[in-house]
């Protein structure tokens, strides 16, 4: 204790005694919950709490174990980087020391889907076309899909939309030479060059999947005449017209044509 300035500051001796009391407080007032906190432990020892095992009948403490609680770093990925090649060890920068355990998000699939969709559909046209909005495609609409691998574009009634992120697919039904034909198309596949709305359903279908259209009673039949009429309005029969000037659905305009 510093006694020199006692004459100048008579209450200064209180400071040291209070300081000592503050140090002792940690030892004197230790409850069960904080029993492990203040103890001198090696710096490399992670934090822990005591888990108490109690006797089921007497409710008395039977034993206690240290349960370690390592610091957990939650990742918050917004964009993900897709690694296409194994990393090269020669040009590597040293990794930083991790502050604790890295806890990834519990549901990675939506983030993965979002990143894949951003890669496969940078303009957002395909996403907008099948969004659950008024402008979006609904079951019952007549669609036409142009395939990149050549061949005639396939048109048909959309029977179902299977929404599965990047794997979203549509099922079209048509009659070719009086035989019912159904085709699945992956919306975000690069092979699907374009999707056009030929005709919208008159009213909203009250089913998610119009499987009843397969029954003869409800079958729409061939949609070739609808396609013909649509082509006429778009003036596709004119040899010099450009498809970009045509008036079609909002999303279909942006859909890529080969």
């Amino acid at each position: 204790m510093n006694v020199a300035p006692l004459s100048g500051r008579p209450l200064a001796c209180l400071k040291t005694s209070v300081r000592r009391a503050r140090q002792q407080k940690a030892f004197l007032c230790r409850s069960m919950a904080t029993g492990s906190q203040g103890r001198a432990s090696p710096s490399s020892l992670p934090d822990y709490n005591f888990y108490q095992l109690k006797d089921q009948k007497t409710k008395k403490l039977r034993s206690a174990f240290a349960v370690y609680t390592p610091p957990t770093v939650k990742t918050n990925p917004t964009t993900i980087t897709i690694v296409n090649k194994p990393p090269k060890p020669a040009k590597r920068t040293p990794e930083p020391k991790l502050p604790g355990l890295i806890a990834p998000p519990s549901d990675p699939l939506p983030i993965l889907h979002a990143s894949q969709i951003a890669r496969m559909d940078p303009t957002g046209a395909r996403t907008a076309l099948f969004a659950k909005t008024k402008q979006g495609v609904r079951v019952g609409d007549v669609l036409m899909v142009t395939h990149r691998r050549g061949g005639e574009p396939f048109a048909g009634v959309c029977i179902s939309i299977r929404r599965a992120g990047i794997d979203t697919a549509i099922l079209l039904r048509n009659h070719l030479s009086k035989v019912g034909v159904e085709m699945w198309f992956k919306v975000y596949n690069k092979n699907v060059a374009g999707i056009e709305i030929i005709k919208r359903a008159r009213r909203r279908a009250r089913r998610a999947r119009l499987t009843y259209l397969r029954k003869p009673k409800h079958d729409v039949g061939s949609v070739s005449d609808l396609v013909f009429a649509w082509k006429k309005t778009r003036k596709v029969f004119n040899t010099k017209s450009s498809p970009a000037s045509s008036k079609t659905a909002k999303g279909a305009k942006a859909a890529k044509k080969k």
Binding site: R30, G35, P42, L45, S63, V67, P70, I80, V83, P105
Partner: protein
């Protein structure tokens, strides 16, 4: 009742009366009490051969006899080629999706997530008879863990894990420091992995579902046997019996299924995912084991070295933490054994008792 012999008559005469008095004092006095058993050794005849003290000496390498083809060492040697050089990881199957290529290719894939995967222990040849790494996944609340496992994790300095599994490795080079976290970059894109999972249980299934039998025809006189398996073996020429291993109806699924040589399409540390091509057994949120493919060449040595280096850089003081946790565990173990753990928790005489323990 016949008269009993006096107790002194049970005493036997000393066998070796000319021994030194010091040895006589202990052995000779005890000898009458011990049961009479013949001691090992040749008591008669003679031989010029050296003593056959150690029968295993015939199997020594120096004896010119080939190394034994059975036993632990031979088993390890036999499995050397099919044991991966480094450990695998535990992962959670998060579901299937597709990987769309720029050229229009669509690859069905499975998303596996590594949730706080840590090395928990190492199994060594000396102690356990084989080399392996014990890996833990996720986290488990302490009240769902029994006392023995609480002590186990206390000694490791880790929080209780949801799932533990062992991955055998080829040699001690495959062992890892305890406590380090394995992230998806443990694998690289393009390599092949084996994924083990537990298939869904289907219950008792018939031959058509379980083994893909084609069943029987619908008509032509068939009566109530459309999905039965039909005949189960040849007649008299084949011995008039059902051969062992005949595929029959029975319990289907609910067993471990290994999908071999699945290419890794993507790894991402932020999401904690490894995306592999194709399907993996088991429902969503089931735990699977992912390890380097056995039937493909191992990852390049520089990649393996790099992953080890990355672990050391990310967790430089894993060894110190483990040692500190072990010491603490021994202390606490003593407290528990002395029934003084309550004192420790309530903080009575902590400083004093602490020194005593140390």
């Amino acid at each position: 009742m016949p008269p009993r012999l006096p107790a002194r008559s049970w005493r036997q005469p000393p066998l070796r009366p000319f021994l030194s008095p010091s040895s006589q004092s202990t052995t000779a006095l005890l000898r009458p009490l011990l049961p009479l058993t013949t001691t090992r050794g040749v008591k008669y005849g003679w031989s010029t051969l050296p003593k056959r003290a150690k029968p295993t000496r015939f199997n020594q390498v120096t004896a010119g006899i080939p190394a034994p083809s059975t036993g632990p060492a031979a088993a390890l040697k036999r499995r050397e080629r099919t044991t991966p050089i480094r450990t695998g990881v535990l992962a959670i199957k998060k579901g299937m999706t597709a990987f769309m290529g720029k050229s229009g290719a669509r690859i069905p894939c499975t998303v596996l997530q590594l949730d706080r995967v840590q090395v928990v222990a190492n199994k060594t040849r000396d102690r356990n008879g084989y080399w392996a790494v014990q890996v833990g996944l996720g986290e488990r609340a302490a009240d769902n863990v029994g006392a023995p496992m609480l002590g186990y994790f206390e000694a490791k300095g880790l929080s209780p894990k949801k799932k533990l599994a062992e991955f055998k490795v080829r040699s001690k080079d495959g062992l890892l420091p305890v406590g380090v976290q394995l992230l998806p970059d443990w694998f690289h894109v393009g390599q092949c992995v084996d994924v083990r999972g537990h298939a869904r249980g289907m219950g008792f299934a018939g031959g058509m579902k379980r083994h893909g039998f084609s069943g029987q025809e619908a008509s032509h006189g068939n009566s109530k046997n459309h999905r039965t398996i039909g005949t189960v073996g040849p007649s008299q020429g084949g011995g008039s019996r059902v051969y062992p291993g005949k595929k029959m109806p029975g319990r289907m699924g609910g067993q471990r299924v290994t999908m071999q040589n699945l290419p890794v399409l993507m790894v991402d540390n932020e999401l904690g995912i490894v995306v592999v091509k194709g399907c993996v057994a088991g429902p969503k949120n089931s735990v699977v084991m992912v390890q380097d493919a056995v039937k493909k060449p191992p990852p390049p040595a520089e990649f393996v070295g790099m992953t080890r280096q990355v672990l050391d850089e990310r967790f430089p003081d894993a060894f110190e933490a483990l040692e500190a946790a072990r010491e603490r565990h021994l202390e606490l173990k003593k407290w528990r054994k002395d029934k003084r753990i309550e004192m420790l928790l309530s903080g009575e005489n902590v400083a004093e008792s602490h020194e005593v323990v140390l």
